[in-house]
């Protein structure tokens, strides 16, 4: 099938359509996903085609939504759940962390928990502290959970199908500002077309001078930053992690071995974050001997997300922040 141009939201919608069509065990559930089409319109039109039993509006009960999904998943179904905002998952931490993540191991490998939990997160929408968070590092910290964060419409489509196929619980991190971003998408014909498991790190750009590692919306910003840097004659490799647990560090180590410089950028807060894990993995690898300067992180979240536009912007890594950090990195003595 040839590629067509569509937004991330449409690519996710198309993936759900593929899942619902090709596997009768799949169903969608979440707050206002059916009649309303989801707070961000991602599930628009699915109720009409698949009915209220499989496209299921829920009470505002995040704990019950995720717990229900766990119960359905261990008894033969494949629930695909939307948290209306990533922030609301805090109300569902028990079923996610104590149940979904644990049951496969805890019950001796005798059950699987094939559920997908979509988390629309991130800032930049003026929604302030309780509707703007990037909580992915919390989940990457939990054995038993997988965490993915696509940045392109094609990856949004393919990763969602791979997550539905996956026998383990997958936390699917979506940045709200990506929903309207467009790109070429080849819509898959069936779930079975993405049967290779969750993919790892993607190379977005190859360059010899430094390696920029990012994911989700920040990976798009990293690509823009790399274009700006190219105008200054700085040639960056850009890597998009896509999977945060497991973390695919092989391509990062390869790239840093070549470029000698590492910059990790993400919107989530820096301390104990994904960037720290990437840096630790690189300095603990063969790439260490090739480092020309200390790795740097460009992260957000110094405070809870502010409301005023200028303050909000300052709390989120922007393209120019990545460019500036890259220039400083290049300016350090070899």
């Amino acid at each position: 099938m040839s590629a067509e141009t569509m937004s991330c939201a449409k690519a996710l919608n198309a993936a759900m359509r593929v899942a619902l069509t090709s596997d009768p065990a799949t169903f969608l559930a979440g707050e206002d996903i059916a009649v309303y089409g989801g707070a961000f319109g991602v599930t628009e039109g699915l109720l009409a085609d698949f009915g209220a039993e499989r496209v299921r509006d829920t009470p505002i009960s995040e704990d019950a939504i995720v717990g229900m999904a766990v119960g359905a998943a261990i008894t033969g179904m494949r629930p695909l759940i939307e948290m209306q905002f990533a922030d609301f998952v805090v109300n569902a931490m028990d079923p996610l962390v104590n149940q979904a993540a644990k049951l496969h191991f805890m019950y001796g490998g005798n059950v699987t928990v094939p559920l997908v939990l979509r988390l629309p997160g991130g800032g930049g929408t003026g929604a302030a502290q309780q509707h703007s968070q990037s909580l992915e590092a919390w989940f990457a910290h939990v054995p038993g959970l997988k965490v993915v964060a696509p940045s392109t419409p094609q990856d949004a489509h393919d990763l969602l199908l791979a997550a539905v196929n996956d026998p383990d619980p997958v936390v699917f991190v979506e940045h709200k500002l990506l929903y309207r971003e467009e790109g070429p998408v080849t819509v898959r014909a069936a779930l079975a077309d993405v049967d290779g498991g969750l993919p790892g790190t993607a190379v977005r750009r190859e360059g010899a001078d430094l390696t920029i590692v990012a994911y989700s919306l920040t990976a798009r910003k990293a690509e823009e930053a790399a274009e700006a840097l190219a105008e200054d004659g700085i040639d960056a490799t850009v890597l998009d992690l896509r999977s945060l647990r497991p973390l695919d560090l092989g391509p990062v180590i390869d790239a840093v071995t070549r470029t000698g410089r590492l910059l990790v950028a993400h919107e989530a807060p820096g301390p104990v974050g994904i960037g720290a894990e990437v840096v630790a993995g690189v300095v603990g690898s063969r790439a260490f001997d090739h480092l020309l300067s200390p790795p740097v992180r460009v992260t957000g979240g110094g405070t809870p997300m502010p409301y005023a536009p200028a303050l909000e912007r300052a709390n989120i890594p922007q393209v120019e922040d990545i460019v500036a950090a890259a220039r400083r990195l290049m300016a350090e003595d070899d």
Binding site: R54, D63, I74, P95, H104, Y107, G108
Partner: protein, 331 residues
């Protein structure tokens, strides 16, 4: 048809044997614990056996249960193998969870025991999902969700009952009210006093039953399960019972009197009461009661003997064990 009908002689015999099996199992694990052969902690249901046996007896093949941290009785009553349970408590490879879960996490999903759970009310929303799953798959199975009186004050209880109510799901919430959380008396923790009465808020008619009367538990659960199976929507049964032992191994019984415990043991013990009722009603003879006791004792002796010989797990068992599938790049 229910798995066992205690109103018949054969069913009464099975029910009594199962109650004794639960009690002997837990006494055996207390013994192993006191001899230093079991580590961790455990929560005993001695004194509560009639709830598990009466409720599980009223189920049919294909029905599911979810259990609690005090779940040995549910597991045995649902058909669990005491050898594999004891092997789990001993942390051995023949345990239901290969020694990974221990006392609070025994599950046998293949036979419909969706598992004990260490989080109070943790299994209540899971039961809701299992009930939805059973309905979406076109079965007429019913899910029985055991929970304690303490769980009724968790948000999950309310979210689970509400969701089951609005979706009309085939789930029976079965409160084992043993009258205490860890130490807090139910009347001090629970506004309104009654768990069964809370059902009304969710369109569910709660039923209260004497949880130490096996015949009464069976009758109440059988009626509710039949109503639910016929599409009548979720149910809520509150079985009033009592635990003789402490909450767990650290309990010094500071919150209740020895007289109170002794009164329940001597006057309301569920096993004594069922034996007397079965003999009085002609379902069992005194000799048959003695035989059943000996059968249970022998079965547990045999189970423990085999469990202690089960191999210890190897640490290599942990490799990639948190996941069912590890992608190539995650190895």
């Amino acid at each position: 048809m229910a798995r066992l009908d205690p109103k018949t002689p054969a069913g009464a015999r099975d029910a009594l044997r199962t109650m004794w099996t639960i009690r002997r199992f837990e006494e055996a694990l207390e013994d192993l614990y006191s001899r230093g052969m079991l580590h961790g902690t455990n929560h005993l249901s001695i004194g509560q056996e009639a709830v598990a046996v009466g409720a599980c007896g009223a189920l049919e093949d294909g029905d599911l249960i979810t259990s609690t941290h005090r779940g040995h009785g549910h597991s045995i009553a649902h058909g669990g193998d005491p050898m594999r349970m004891m092997a789990e408590l001993l942390g051995r490879t023949d345990g239901y969870c290969r020694g990974r879960g221990g006392s609070m996490h025994i599950a046998d999903v293949a036979s419909g025991n969706l598992g004990a759970n260490g989080i109070v009310a943790g299994s209540m929303t899971i039961a809701v999902g299992a009930a939805l799953s059973m309905r979406m798959q076109g079965t007429d199975a019913v899910v029985v969700c055991f929970f304690g009186d303490g769980a009724a004050n968790e948000g999950s209880f309310h979210e689970a009952l509400n969701m089951a109510g609005v979706w009309d799901l085939p789930v029976l919430f079965l409160c084992e009210n043993n009258q205490y959380g860890m130490s807090m008396a139910q009347d001090a923790s629970t506004a309104g006093g009654s768990v069964a009465a809370r059902g009304a808020a969710y369109g569910i008619e709660g039923v209260e039953v004497d949880g130490n009367d096996l015949d009464a538990v069976f009758t109440a659960v059988q009626a509710e399960v039949a109503r639910i199976r016929a599409g009548g929507g979720p149910g809520l049964v509150e079985a009033i019972t009592y635990r003789y032992r402490g909450h767990s191994k650290s309990d010094r019984n500071l919150y209740r009197t020895l007289d109170e415990i002794e009164e329940w043991r001597t006057e309301r013990d569920p096993v004594d009461r069922f034996e007397a009722a079965a003999v009085d009603s002609g379902r069992l003879t005194v000799d048959e009661v003695d035989e059943v006791r000996e059968e249970a004792r022998a079965a547990i002796r045999d189970a423990v003997g085999r469990a202690v010989r089960s191999p210890e797990p190897d640490v290599s068992d942990l490799v990639d064990a948190a996941y069912a599938q590890v992608p190539e790049h995650g190895r």
